[in-house]
């Protein structure tokens, strides 16, 4: 275990925010889920007791009927905002005094940094370059992620769970977003802590050996089946991609319509909403991890090979 190597990566000034992220994301996940669990308990109680549902104030917060429904923004909200501004400013001051922003040698096109890494918030994109060609990993997939995020509210037809933390009423959107967020953080983790010189795979704690050579042969999917004819390879690739879409789509459909889940939600969803969700779920949420596993575990480079582009 090369602790010096780990410390070297963690203590790079530009990587310090990852440590902050590693603290804040679990904290706020816990903070939100704690309220979600409390709300779900309340929902369970109200569903079991319709009489209570008619009279209950329906929030997890303390409640007395004589309390005013509204409070003046000054001072009740503004004091929180001013306090937040002061705390954040203090935090930034301390951070800026104790840690210096990095400055390397002057830019030199003749001397390539190894590894040349993007800042941590982009390192996920850089890591995607391992699994897809640049046109897909660098351009199409990021665009799909942005568009996918933007269509997210339009494919979610459920009126439930608006304005409060809950898991029970929003299993599908929470899982979809949570899984995507997890993959994104995982890519950042791999890109930062695992990828070393030559963008090779070094386990955390393994020394970054600049002279290391990996004798690893990546194969294309047709080669695995011993197909070398261009036409047959192309047809196999198309079959594999179509099969992946059909299989994953079927799996997601089973999950969306499984018994126990509210049938009304499915009925409210239009065909267009459903198809859009399936497209993004299969392409981004399932396609990316599938290609990662194919590459990392089975050393498969391309699935579909055409004269114009490869996937």
């Amino acid at each position: 275990m090369d602790w010096a190597q780990i410390w070297k990566i963690v203590s790079v000034p530009d990587n310090v925010p990852i440590t902050l992220l590693a603290i804040l994301v679990p904290f706020y996940t816990w903070y939100g889920l704690r309220q979600a669990i409390a709300t779900d308990k309340l929902i369970g109680r109200l569903q079991a007791d319709p009489a209570l549902a008619k009279t209950h104030h329906r929030k997890i917060h303390p409640y007395l009927p004589e309390w005013a429904r509204e409070v003046p923004v000054w001072p009740y909200l503004l004091k929180i905002e001013f306090l937040a501004a002061i705390i954040v400013t203090l935090f930034l001051m301390i951070w800026s005094i104790t840690l210096n922003a990095p400055l390397e040698e002057p830019a030199n096109p003749n001397f390539t940094m190894n590894p040349a890494k993007a800042p941590w918030y982009f390192v996920g994109l850089q890591e995607m370059l391992v699994y897809f060609d640049p046109w897909f990993a660098g351009v199409v997939l990021p665009s799909l992620i942005v568009v996918g995020l933007m269509v997210f509210p339009y494919v979610d037809a459920s009126p439930l769970g608006l304005g409060y933390y809950t898991i029970k009423q929003r299993v599908i959107p929470l899982f979809s977003f949570g899984f995507g967020f997890f993959i994104w953080l995982l890519l950042i983790f791999i890109g930062t802590f695992v990828r070393g010189p030559g963008w090779m795979w070094f386990w955390p704690g393994q020394h970054w050996d600049h002279t290391r050579v990996i004798y690893e042969v990546n194969r294309n999917l047709p080669d695995v089946f011993g197909i070398h004819n261009v036409w047959l390879a192309g047809i196999l690739g198309v079959i594999a991609v179509v099969g992946f879409y059909a299989g994953t789509g079927w799996g997601i459909h089973k999950w969306l319509t499984r018994p126990g889940l509210n049938q009304k939600l499915y009925e409210r969803t239009s065909l267009l909403q459903y198809a859009t969700f399936q497209f993004f779920a299969i392409t981004v949420l399932a396609g990316l991890p599938a290609k990662m596993i194919l590459r990392l575990v089975f050393r498969v480079h391309y699935v579909l090979i055409t004269p114009w582009f490869n996937i």
């Binding site: 994301v25 996940t29 709300t39 000054w74 909200l77």
Partner: protein, 292 residues
């Protein structure tokens, strides 16, 4: 007060001055009665009166995005996490420190790196200024993600807030672009290679990149494709530095500010903070959405 007949003029003057001083004393005791105060603040700030407190918020240009009164539970930190507000505050900090940094920075290959050295070693508080700009930018990305995360957890992105969510996604993209363009400006190895890696991907853009699918078929070369447009050349050099500078300091902040105006305005217009609202039960849900 009547003037007694036959008194000398100077005595009257003294009397008037005394009166004026007396009036001034009264004003100092209660400045809210003065014309100056009233002209600036319009409303009195009575501690005990909720109505004037609301008017104070509504009549203030910096606070007018707030309503005068708000749901009792909506001020809970546990619900909002305050991440949207903190993100905006960090943007303000970045604008302020960024403007100060601009006083010391020339976007040219000859000067840029030396300016950073100058900032670090000679400019009073220059190092603090640069550190703060950098770490605020990093923190802003974290708070932005957390803000987004909270909005997803509470389902607040849905009707009637779908459009505002889209504006928020665009703001996320703009923030990342701001970080990316700023990364090149010190003109050191770190920024140079990060931007080289980043813009090399643009080469592979389908249809518009010289190495992307169907790009060469459309006549794309390294000298006319989308990467060339980004860098103002075929390599990361002086033109790229200037372009990054202008995108970073002028174009993207202006575009982001416009989106922010829409974003904040829509928060109010779409009904304010989404909750905490009373829970809705599955049994109360209609099978078909209305008006579709």
């Amino acid at each position: 007060m009547s003037k007694p007949e036959g008194e000398p003029k100077s005595a009257t003057l003294l009397e008037t001055a005394k009166e004026a001083v007396q009036a001034l004393r009264e004003d100092i005791k209660d400045p809210q009665r003065t014309q100056i105060w009233k002209s600036i603040f319009r409303v009195k700030h009575e501690r005990s009166d909720p109505r004037t407190r609301s008017l104070g918020v509504l009549g203030n240009v910096f606070l007018h995005l707030h309503p005068g009164r708000i749901n009792r539970d909506a001020v809970r930190y546990s619900y909002t996490w305050g991440m949207g507000g903190i993100t905006f505050y960090l943007f303000v900090v970045l604008t302020f420190t960024g403007a100060l940094l601009m006083f010391y920075y020339h976007p040219s290959k000859l000067q840029a790196y030396r300016d950073i050295l100058y900032l670090e070693h000679d400019v009073p508080f220059g190092k603090l200024l640069r550190n703060m700009h950098r770490w605020t930018a990093h923190l802003m990305i974290i708070t932005l993600w957390l803000h987004m995360f909270r909005v997803v957890l509470t389902g607040s992105y849905r009707r009637p807030r779908e459009f505002n969510w889209c504006v928020g996604v665009l703001l996320l993209v703009l923030t990342l672009l701001l970080s990316f363009t700023g990364y090149l400006l010190p003109d050191d190895q770190l920024g140079f290679w990060a931007v080289t890696v980043g813009t090399n991907m643009a080469r592979a853009t389908p249809l518009l990149g010289s190495e992307g699918p169907f790009g060469p078929a459309l006549g794309m070369t390294p000298y006319n494709d989308v990467r060339f447009a980004l860098l103002g050349g075929s390599i990361v050099d002086a033109n790229a530095l200037l372009r990054a500078y202008i995108w970073h300091c002028i174009a993207i902040p202006v575009i982001a500010s416009i989106f922010m105006i829409v974003h904040f305005w829509r928060v109010r217009k779409d009904g304010g903070i989404s909750g905490p609202s009373p829970v809705m039960l599955e049994s109360e849900m209609k099978p078909q959405a209305k008006g579709r």
